[in-house]
């Protein structure tokens, strides 16, 4: 313990001196330095053990190689390779014929090389942690405030005394408060391991009110005992004040946990809503027991995949394009199904179940034959990845957040379409009284096709959302179809508001049961609840009233 500390102090001092010297140096003999750097870099190729590589990374980070940040981030990203033939360190980027490589030392373009002629400089998770810290240190001086912020956050997660100097220097010039706060936590994380009690107590105080999960973890570690029952942390004062701060942090985190749970519930509910709302049209409004509903979602998800294939360079916009495309594809398929099959079955609702079940088998097999039975990779646009960190204890993932909003938008547009437009009026008229609507001059066949197409199209849109959450494969639809039926029935057939309310309440109920009962039992409870609820209200949550109810 002591020795390593001495060593650390020594390293910090040495690095400090090195940095100062480096700053003062005015490139004495350029080529000699370059040669030294080349030698250093080439050692990456021969280094085998983790500790050797770790040393090298630190040496490179502190060298005066102008592109050291680029080399290290290439190493972090797995773009750093060497050629097997002449052991040259290269940046490699994938290319249809293998890799496009560029020399690291002099930046020379070396053309394209077969993928088996180069080998990657491999790293592991420990090295990634080191690299994260080193790169964060290097980018602390970036112009971009977001880069600085993420660098500061990375430093919290990779605390190491080597960075203390750089952090202190960055703090001196930092103007952004958020970055400054993160840097303070980073300092505290490092100081927590210092020898001086005062520094450590200060560090613990600095965590108060931050809710940072790494801080909580390190404070919790101080409370651990070894196998003989002695505390690992021998300084009682430090340990106790850590315990005090920790319990305060945990109490606060607990509250946010509740908020998080509601969010999880709402996001599950919004997925249910999206998958069920199309069914609320085809099943709820038209009375077709549409077993092919899931396959409409599947088609939507595959449309997203195809769109991403068509515009590989614009992944960020692909989702925006995919939404109308999926609506059209699934909608058109829906219209074809309606015209080809369901049209002949009105008045025989149970038989629509059989026919659409057949259709769903055909569609599944069609997708399997066209796209192979393997799952397809749909990438997430950058604006849908990651999470919105409100504080250390609460962060909401963007994709879920957008799906909640998206499902509400879809629902509102649908309500608007049905209630406020002429087409919607016709749709309602036909479903309420077909004969009367017909005699009033409405082309009922055409309206039926449109209504079914609308429901299917919305299922397609749901598929776009699902492609961001789960597998895009031939079985996608089947995993959601049962839940969708439950939601529609629970909410009351033919009532969009009921569908909304049912989806959200089932989602939240599920998420609140899950911590106690586990994922499986929670789901079983919800199903049993639906069965019992239907006994109490045989027509669902919001039953339609009036004469049309009785058959």
């Amino acid at each position: 313990m002591k020795l390593s500390h001495v060593f650390r102090v020594f390293v910090v001092l040495a690095l400090f001196v090195a940095q100062v010297v480096q700053a003062e140096q005015i490139t004495p003999v350029k080529s000699e330095v370059a040669a030294d750097n080349a030698l250093l870099l080439n050692e990456l190729i021969s280094a085998r053990s983790t500790s050797d590589k770790k040393n090298l990374i630190n040496l490179i980070a502190n060298s005066n190689f102008p592109q050291r940040a680029k080399v290290l981030s290439a190493l972090q990203d797995g773009d750093l390779y060497y050629t097997k033939a002449d052991e040259q360190l290269v940046y490699a980027f994938s290319h249809p014929d293998g890799y496009q490589i560029t020399s690291v030392i002099d930046g020379e373009n070396l053309g394209v090389i077969g993928s088996r002629k180069v080998r990657k400089i491999s790293i592991n998770n420990e090295l990634r942690t080191v690299l994260r810290g080193v790169l964060a240190e290097l980018s602390l001086r970036s112009e971009d405030v977001f880069v600085r912020l993420s660098a500061a956050k990375d430093l919290i997660r990779s605390p190491s005394p080597e960075f203390l100097y750089a952090i202190e220097r960055a703090k001196a010039v930092e103007v952004n408060e958020k970055v400054l706060a993160s840097l303070n936590i980073a300092t505290a994380m490092i100081n927590l391991n210092s020898e001086e009690q005062v520094l450590r107590l200060d560090a613990i105080e600095a965590f108060r009110g931050t809710l940072d999960s790494d801080a909580m973890s390190i404070l919790a570690a101080m409370q651990l005992k070894d196998s003989e029952g002695n505390y690992l942390e021998q300084d009682d004062l430090v340990r106790e004040s850590a315990a005090a701060v920790l319990s305060e942090m945990r109490g606060e985190a607990e509250m946010y946990k509740l908020v998080e749970n509601v969010f999880f519930g709402l996001s599950l509910g919004s997925v249910l809503l999206l998958t069920a709302v199309g069914l609320a049209i085809t099943f709820g409004v038209m009375g077709v027991i549409n077993m092919a509903h899931g396959e409409m979602m599947m088609l939507g998800a595959y449309t997203t995949y195809v769109i991403q294939l068509l515009m590989p360079n614009y992944i960020d916009y692909s989702i925006v394009v995919a939404i109308p495309a999926a609506f059209l594809v699934s909608g058109l398929v829906g219209i074809v199904i309606e015209r080809g099959v369901i049209r002949h079955l009105y008045g025989r609702p149970l038989e629509t179940l059989l026919a659409t079940f057949g259709v769903s088998l055909i569609l599944q097999q069609a997708v399997r034959s066209i796209f192979s039975p393997l799952n397809k990779s749909v990438s997430a646009p950058s604006w849908l990845s990651g999470s919105w960190e409100i504080n250390g204890a609460l962060s909401l993932t963007y994709n879920r957040l957008y799906i909640i909003i998206f499902s509400l938008v879809v629902l509102l547009m649908l309500v608007f379409l049905l209630k406020k437009t002429f087409v919607g009026l016709q749709m309602r008229a036909v479903t309420q009284n077909r004969a009367m609507a017909n005699s009033m001059g409405i082309r009922t066949g055409w309206v039926d096709a449109l209504t079914f197409g609308l429901g299917s199209g919305i299922a397609g849109i749901a598929g776009v959302a699902l492609s961001q959450l789960t597998n895009v494969g031939p079985n996608l639809g089947q995993s959601y179809i049962i839940d969708s039926f439950m939601v529609v029935v629970f909410g009351g057939v033919g009532n969009l508001f009921g569908t909304f309310f049912a989806a959200m309440s089932l989602g939240v109920a599920n998420k609140f049961l899950e911590p106690f009962a586990g994922a499986v039992l929670a789901k079983i409870f919800v199903l049993v609840f639906i069965i019992l609820f239907i006994q109490w209200r045989p027509r669902g949550l919001f039953a339609l009233k009036g004469r049309s109810v009785e058959d």
Binding site: F283, I289, M291, V341, H344, L345, R348, P349, L350, E351, L353, L354, A355, F357, G358, V359, S360, L361, I362, Q364, Q365, A366, R368, S369, Q478, I482, F485, M486, V489, V493, V520, L521, K523, I524, L527, V528, I530, I531, L532, I534, Q535, W536, P538, R539, G540, E550, D551
Partner: protein, 386 residues
């Protein structure tokens, strides 16, 4: 030899005299009950008349499905209860039988534990859960095969029919029921072997399940059960009681207004149907050799509905024909066209709903009617209306 007069006077005889198709069906079932085992056991392998064992097992499996379809047709075809959860009763009967067969293994399991089935041993269970007690007794098991599905159907039906849950609402909550059971039986903590279910059975009542003779007996039992169940269902639907059921199917509210306790009628027929499904499951398990939660899958239950619809709803014998036909198609397609068989099966479903609204039986009756038009005296077969 049965005197034809006795036949005509006996209850079954009277029943079947008015039911030509039923007569054919019973006749066919009795014939295969005798002939299939004979052709399997006595004919030398390679002879044209020899029926290989795997065909016997396959036919036995179809017959179990036929019994299940019959059970569904009783409630759906004659009482308008579209159950999308009949697979649950089938699976429960199967599990009861499976538990008995598991207990029969005794210390012949791989770990040699006389008390516990293998899957409990390697999950470190130390004693048999209470609900496994009694299943070592065959008669207790037979009783449970009927009781467990009946109890579930009774509780479920009592709740649902009393609150007048009808139509799609009923269908969907039956689906929820089987789905919840599926999830529950998947859990290894339930003590039913989780996803692997119950398997590796050795013998039943001391007879090896691997021997051809046992298989033939099981096959014969399946065929006789289908015949027996057919007669039972026919007796129910042609009785006064059955008329009320049909009235409920066609106009539930009116029947209620006429003073019938609709929920009692429905409950009775639902429970009977569940018992039949349970028996089908119990016959199915020793022949197939495995029971696992997949049988509770909602898709399986939908398939049962499809067998009945394709055969012809509300005819009873149509259910039998449909179950055998669809399953034979499945066996044939999965072997002959493994890559594209789903296209064919899907197309079969679509086409038969579009062009055979009354199923295979409907087509036959139509042809028959047309032929009978010249005679102008025959009474058309009554099909189902939804």
């Amino acid at each position: 030899m049965i005197n034809s007069k006795i036949f005509e006077r006996s209850a079954i005889g009277r029943l079947l005299l008015a039911d030509k198709a039923g007569r054919y069906l019973i006749a066919a079932l009795l014939v295969i009950t005798v002939l299939v085992p004979l052709c399997n056991l006595l004919m030398p392998a390679g002879s044209f008349l020899h029926i290989p064992t795997y065909v016997v097992v396959l036919l036995g499996k179809y017959l179990c499905y036929a019994l299940l379809a019959l059970a569904l047709d009783l409630v759906w075809g004659y009482c308008g209860i579209l159950s999308l959860g009949h697979g649950a009763f089938f699976a429960l009967g199967g599990y009861a039988m499976g538990m008995h067969l598991m207990r029969q293994i005794g210390e012949r399991g791989v770990y040699g534990n006389a008390e516990l089935p293998d899957f409990m041993v390697f999950l470190n269970w130390t004693e048999l859960p209470w609900y496994w007690y009694g299943f070592d007794n065959f008669f207790f098991t037979m009783f449970m095969v009927a009781l467990v599905p009946a109890a579930l159907a009774f509780v479920f039906g009592w709740l649902a029919f009393r609150s007048r849950v009808t139509g799609v609402y009923l269908s969907i909550i039956t689906q929820a029921m089987t789905y919840a059971l599926l999830l529950a039986f998947f859990r290894n903590d339930m003590g039913f072997g989780g996803n692997n279910g119950l398997t590796d059975f050795k013998d039943i009542l001391g007879f090896s399940l691997q021997s051809d003779a046992t298989r033939c007996v099981l096959f014969a039992l399946s065929a006789l059960s289908v015949a027996g169940a057919y007669v039972l269902c026919r007796a129910i639907v042609t009785s006064k009681y059955g008329r009320v059921l049909i009235a409920i199917r066609d106009a539930e509210s009116r029947t209620r207004f006429m003073g019938y306790r609709v929920e009692h009628y429905k409950l009775f027929v639902f429970v009977v149907s569940a018992i039949l499904a349970g028996i089908a499951g119990a016959l199915y398990v020793p022949q197939v050799g495995i029971i696992n939660p997949g049988e509770f899958g909602p898709i399986n239950s939908i398939e049962i509905v499809i067998w009945v619809a394709i055969g012809g709803r509300g005819t009873l014998f149509g259910a039998v024909i449909g179950a055998v036909a669809v399953n034979y198609a499945k066996t044939y397609f999965t072997g002959a066209f493994p890559e594209v068989w789903l296209f064919m099966l899907g197309a079969l479903f679509v086409i038969s709903t579009l062009y055979l609204p009354k199923g295979i039986v409907g087509v036959v009756t139509q042809i028959r009617e047309r032929r009978a038009e010249s005679n102008a005296t025959s009474i058309p077969e009554q099909g189902a209306k939804s």
